[in-house]
């Protein structure tokens, strides 16, 4: 009683209606979703600088209060500052790390953001990070003291790392290890921060200040974090070196 023609027509119409509904929902809800993502990004930046009391409701307000300046840094280390106006509208905040790092990998000109946070009268420099984990992208922020050497704090997040293993990079237990580590050796060489499988105590004594413990069972994610910090910080290196030379 149902001909093949009817079945095909039925399926086609059904799919078109479903597609139209979903596209409509996606378009209508997009502004809200983007707002949430922006809030999450701000929260990460504030959390890496160890700003306390950050909640979803007050993130935007705190972000505009604590972030005193935004910089856009190019590959030669020149910085374009942005001071006036709302920090959430700043050019640095709009930068898409994924695109800029892709440009870098192609050898093209790129621009990276830096956020200056005023915390207890001291300036903390927050550099966003982005790299790859096991199943998808990982990203985060690393906050450095005015000496551009000592780590104030870090945050990490991920798209879909394995819960209980790679996904542990977001936990305080992992992130707190970074506090107080340094990214430059005694001789001024860029050392990055190594995520060491088997534990940082495996490193020679003088290197332990540059190393943290990797996550057991999360080797590829840990390696991803290691590579991410190294790659992204080296992109900032021209700027950091200029600042350190002063």
């Amino acid at each position: 009683m149902y001909t093949n023609g009817y079945i095909f027509r039925y399926a086609a119409i059904m799919v078109i209606i479903a597609a139209a509904l979903l596209s409509l929902a996606a378009v209508l809800l997009k502004p809200f979703q983007e707002r949430n993502m922006a809030i999450e990004k701000m929260g990460g930046i504030l959390a890496s600088a160890e700003v306390e009391g950050v909640e979803t409701a007050n993130t935007i307000e705190l972000f505009n209060r604590f972030v005193v300046e935004e910089l856009v840094v190019d590959k030669d280390g020149n910085a374009a500052p942005y001071k006036d106006g709302k920090m959430e509208d700043g050019p640095a905040f709009k930068i898409d790390m994924k695109k800029e790092l892709y440009k870098k990998s192609k050898g093209e000109a790129f621009h990276l953001p830096i956020y200056l946070i005023n915390k207890d009268g001291k300036t903390v420099y927050v550099l966003p990070l982005r790299g790859t984990g096991l199943w998808g992208p990982i990203w985060g922020n690393i906050a450095l003291k005015e000496d551009f050497n000592t780590v104030v704090g870090v945050t990490f997040d991920h798209k879909g790392e394995t819960p209980g293993l790679g996904a542990e990079i977001t936990t305080a237990a992992f992130c707190d290890q970074f506090v107080g580590k340094t990214i430059f050796g005694d001789d001024g060489h860029f050392m990055s921060i190594m995520v060491v499988k088997g534990g940082a105590q495996k490193l020679p004594q003088n290197m332990q200040i540059h190393g943290v413990d990797a996550i057991s069972g999360g080797t590829i994610t840990s390696d991803g974090v290691n590579a991410m910090i190294k790659d992204v910080l080296s992109a900032y290196l021209p700027y950091i070196k200029k600042q350190r030379a002063q």
Binding site: Y2, Y6, I7, Y10, A11, M14, V15, A18, L21, L22, A25, A26, L29, F32, Q33, N36, M37, I39, E40, T56, G160
Partner: protein
């Protein structure tokens, strides 16, 4: 509801009320039909995600039941499972998008499990068993009833797991600090999925103890 139908059968007739209440106990999707266990284990470490999950399942289940029931006379039997899946998938994606827009934090906690509502056997089961052969209003009630049965178990499990696993309810500390000073520790095992399965088992045991109809002859 048309007037004509109202005359034939009141909106909340005994039969319709039964559609709402039997899934709470006698035909509970989780404890009696043993469906939807996957999500019951995954999202019940805290109360909040469990409740949002229950509401999401309720919306998806009621809406797809109604849609399928409205379409039931036109759906070609040969592709009916595909039609059901398209309806469920559309509803789930809509719910997921709405959660992402308005309760972002919870949506992050639920992560893939909202998407996995699509594969929740309870929904497919109700569409195939009920909505394909019943009018929209009973189908709607059936969807709500089954989602309530599912949600009830989820909330009970989540309550126990959050209380004993984290010592909190809705993230508020309820176990006083004094207990911890005496050496009480949160049971970390409660946070892990195996304890959710054991909790389900205990709930089934208690339910069967009080509901003799459920006990098989042999």
């Amino acid at each position: 509801m048309s007037k004509e139908q109202k005359e034939r059968e009141p909106l909340f007739s005994t039969k319709n009320i039964k559609l709402l209440t039997t899934p709470l106990n006698l035909s509970n999707p989780i404890t009696v039909q043993v469906l939807g266990i996957c999500s019951a284990l995954a999202v019940t470490a805290k109360l909040m995600p469990a409740i949002v999950m229950s509401i999401s399942v309720m919306v998806v289940m009621a809406a797809s039941n109604v849609v399928i029931s409205l379409l039931r006379n036109g759906i070609p039997p040969r592709i009916r499972i595909i039609v059901q899946l398209v309806v469920i998938a559309t509803m789930v994606i809509l719910v997921d998008q709405v959660l992402k827009a308005f309760v972002y934090d919870v949506s992050k906690q639920l992560s893939v499990f909202v998407g996995l509502i699509i594969t929740n056997c309870i929904i497919m089961g109700r569409l195939e068993a009920f909505a394909m052969g019943n009018k929209p209003w009973p189908a709607f009630l059936d969807g709500i009833g089954n989602a309530l049965g599912y949600g009830l178990i989820l909330v009970v499990i989540a309550f126990l797991r959050e209380l004993f696993g984290s010592g909190t309810i809705f993230d508020f500390r309820v176990i006083p600090q004094g207990f911890y000073d005496f050496g009480y520790v949160n049971n970390g095992l409660m946070i892990l999925p195996p304890m959710a399965l054991i909790t389900v088992g205990v709930i089934i045991w208690i339910q069967r103890y009080y509901t003799r109809e459920l006990i098989e002859e042999n």
